[in-house]
Amino acid sequence: MVNNHDPHPTTAREACNAKREGATPYAGGTDFMVRHAKAVRTGQCPPLIFLDGVKEFHGISTSENTVRIGALTTMAELSIHADIPQLLSRACNCVGSPALRNIATIGGNVCTASPAGDSLPALYVLNAQVEICSPEGCRLIPVCDFITGPGRTALEADELLSAVILPTTEFNKFYHRKVSPRVANAITKVSLAVAATMKNNRVEGIRIAYGSVGPTIIDCPEIGATCIGLSVAELAANSPELMTMVETTVKPIDDHRSSAQYRRSIAANLLAECIKKVTSTP
């Protein structure tokens, strides 16, 4: 494919047109560099567009009902920004190591669409949407519809992810835990993100999502529905039943990082830990 595009576009339209012509988008590069290590070594990289110069892809802006996170916002920025819900900050702070988080972007984490993508379970439970731009304009879709399979997204050939949009949340309880062999630079074996609205000691709303235990993030609406209306004491009493539901809901596989059986029991244990934390803190 012949490419006459500017490798450093400054507008979203320019970047989308270059992508349509076959150029590969480069954001933080942390996944790209590992996945294309051989091509980089041998000078066989596909034609690239470095997205850094596109202003629309940068910055966090807060309005009355939403927080717009530009796709090029780094994990390090998300970890400390005051307008980012604590659940997402904590999830983003689990990615790689500090230096990696200085360049890894939220847009990259979403578009890589790995079942182990550390920001994803948090984005699912916070009902995030993604803003997708093309030369024709922008569209918004829920992140759970954007990711269509492991490494697959709903992006068309001339489209780029321009931002992640978080609705203002009413959740008042959060839980996040990543299980990995070491704290830094380790791919997640199992992760759990939970956001809940507790009112008068009862569960009014709850979202539960697991990472790394299925081909994509495992959203658990049935488990959530079972929790709705339960008092804190009832939630604790129902913990064993909810753990059994987790074991049948998650779809882990055996691979070189873990066995399916290990992942299944850890997934259930994480929900038990979450319930314990929610019911023991005021």
């Binding site: 480069y26 980089v40 790689g96």
Partner: protein
């Protein structure tokens, strides 16, 4: 993808005709002969290739030249002429934090940025900041001690 790429390297504006799709670590070590920046794992796991990109610790094996355009890059050679370097180097020596030395430039870059942003880090903060810098010789305790020592001695140096 050959074009002219300009950036600031150790305080000096420079430009290179190297392809945009070669790694920053290769440009630094090859074209600019700045071999203090090491390549360990080549996949962002070990921190031996750490440089400061716009002031932030960055793994130069994970950055293509095209992404360095118009950025401010400091390597270990750029730190060497600063008074801070003498303090860091002495602290690493005094604490016995250097054995084979391969990880040391990366460790120093991370330490420099850590102490700039947090002048009095505790053990936890140091271990968190250094989590992406691997050392296969010292066992880390001496490196943490070196950082504490440098924090004690640095005053207002940087």
């Amino acid at each position: 993808m050959t074009t002219q790429t300009s950036f600031t390297l150790n305080g000096k504006p420079i430009s290179t005709k190297a392809p945009l799709d070669i790694r920053l670590v290769d440009v630094l070590r090859g074209e600019f002969q700045l071999t203090g920046t090491k390549e360990g794992c080549g996949e962002g796991e070990c921190g031996a290739c750490m440089v400061l990109l716009n002031g932030k610790p960055t793994l130069s094996c994970l950055v293509l030249l095209g992404a360095a355009k118009d950025k401010d890059i400091i390597t270990i050679e750029g730190l060497r002429t600063t008074p801070g370097f003498a303090i860091l180097s002495q602290a690493f020596n005094d604490a016995g934090a250097v054995q084979c030395g391969f990880c040391t430039p990366g460790m120093i870059m991370t330490t420099y940025a850590l102490l700039r942003d947090n002048p009095t880090p505790d053990d936890d903060a140091i271990r968190t900041a250094m989590a992406g810098n691997l050392c296969r010789c010292t066992g880390y305790t001496m490196i943490v001690e070196a950082v504490l020592l440098a924090a004690e001695r640095r005053g207002e140096t940087w």
